[in-house]
Amino acid sequence: MSGLLNTIYTAFVRRNAVFLTTIFVGAFATEMVFDSGSNLIWDSINRGRQWKDIKHKYMSNGGGGDDEGDDDDDE
């Protein structure tokens, strides 16, 4: 256990630049994982109810231009 801690310490904490980089990258990674994970759960609870689930019925044959719609959905 202490060996592992030691490895982590020397790898990420010892040099300040590395430590800071770890924090920043970690924050972004956590946010991305958390967001896409919770969106996945939300979308599965609400399968078939949201616009993105039904818009394929109304998009007129390719290039219908639903760009704004896409932006709204994926936030």
Partner: protein
């Protein structure tokens, strides 16, 4: 005013108290010969103050405590039942297919009298319409341009950023066309009425075949038990098969009412889907942060919580000048971690 009256009441209270205090002190020093008379006075005083207190409380309750009924039950309107809405649950979004149907009903039926002028065409995009559909719908309407070089205002087709046009030029025109009753703007109606979705649904589907015996309905009004006062300017709107749904859903009156109510809930709270999702995320993250903060607190307090104090008495009570307190102080406590 409040300060002055409270001052006065506290003075009155002091005045009421002082005889009691006086009798009490007299009693304490009085002889047994006087005590009979004093106790009679005591009883009278106590009974009268109790009576006064009870009387003023009941008078106050009589004046201000009783439930007041400014209106009769008919004027209040029938309370709508609770309907099992799916979209109002905390984990559910709007059913956007239903929103599309509800907007269809609004456009075919309600839009003849009611505006939803807080909704711009762009709101429909990505929620219940594609960009092309919304643009086409906007272009059907005419809007004023800004004044040109000669100061003239021309007409132009609508754009996505324009707001929905009302059916009447102004409120007076709307009243004139509806027997003097103003059809309210429906953008926020679900938020604006007690009972929200339940009320609007009950109102739309609650018109009886004919008013019950004994009900007075003024001419030009229609009977609806859910409308406060029961006489509503709006006649029954939804009849089975009134519209043709593009997705083939049977257009019963209650289906249309349900769809249009869900649509009106969306116009009142278009952000609801996003807000619910964000709420769950916030709850999840704050749960983690709360757990962390509990752990940090326990960690920081660990040394203090596990500290023990012990007292080692002085070994030899050697004769020393001075008080025992001084001796005690010299040896003092010993602290052991």
């Amino acid at each position: 005013m409040l300060a002055r009256s409270s001052l006065r009441s506290s003075r009155a209270f002091a005045a009421a108290k002082s005889p009691a205090v006086r009798t009490a002190t007299r009693n304490a020093s009085s002889q047994s010969s006087q005590s009979a008379a004093a106790s009679w006075k005591n009883t009278a005083l106590l009974s009268s103050t109790t009576l006064l207190a009870a009387g003023s409380v009941s008078w106050y309750y009589y004046q201000f405590g009783r439930p007041t009924q400014a209106m009769t039950l008919a004027e209040e309107g029938l309370h709508p039942p609770k309907f099992p809405w799916e979209h109002t649950k905390l984990t559910r979004t709007f059913d956007h297919q239903a929103l599309r149907r509800g907007f269809h009903v609004y456009r075919e039926v309600c839009a003849a009298c009611h505006s939803i002028s807080r909704i711009p065409y762009r709101k429909f995009v990505g929620s219940l319409m594609t960009v092309d559909e919304a643009k086409a719908m906007a272009e059907e309407q005419e809007y004023d341009t800004d004044p040109n070089d000669e100061g003239e205002i021309e007409k132009r087709p609508g754009k996505l950023s324009d707001y929905m046009l009302p059916p009447y030029q102004n409120d007076e025109a709307a009243r004139a066309a509806n027997n003097g009753a103003l059809p309210p703007d429906l953008s926020l109606i679900v938020k604006a009425r007690h009972g929200g979705c339940d009320y609007v649904f009950a109102l739309l589907t609650g018109y009886p075949e004919e008013p019950p015996a004994g009900a007075v309905v003024q001419s030009g009004l229609n009977f609806n038990p859910y409308f406060p006062g029961t006489g509503i300017g709006m006649p029954k709107q939804l009849f089975d098969g009134l519209v043709d749904y593009e997705d083939g859903t049977p257009a019963t009156a209650s289906q249309m009412a349900k769809d249009v109510v869900e649509f009106l809930n969306w116009t009142a709270e278009p952000e609801a889907d996003e807000r619910k999702k964000m709420g769950w995320k916030v709850m999840a993250i704050t749960t983690v942060l709360f757990g962390l903060s509990v752990w940090v607190k326990r960690y920081k307090w660990a040394t203090i919580k596990t500290r023990k104090l012990s007292y080692t008495p002085p070994h030899a009570p050697a004769k020393q000048p001075g008080s025992s307190f001084r001796r005690f102080q010299q040896h003092g406590y010993e602290q052991k971690p």
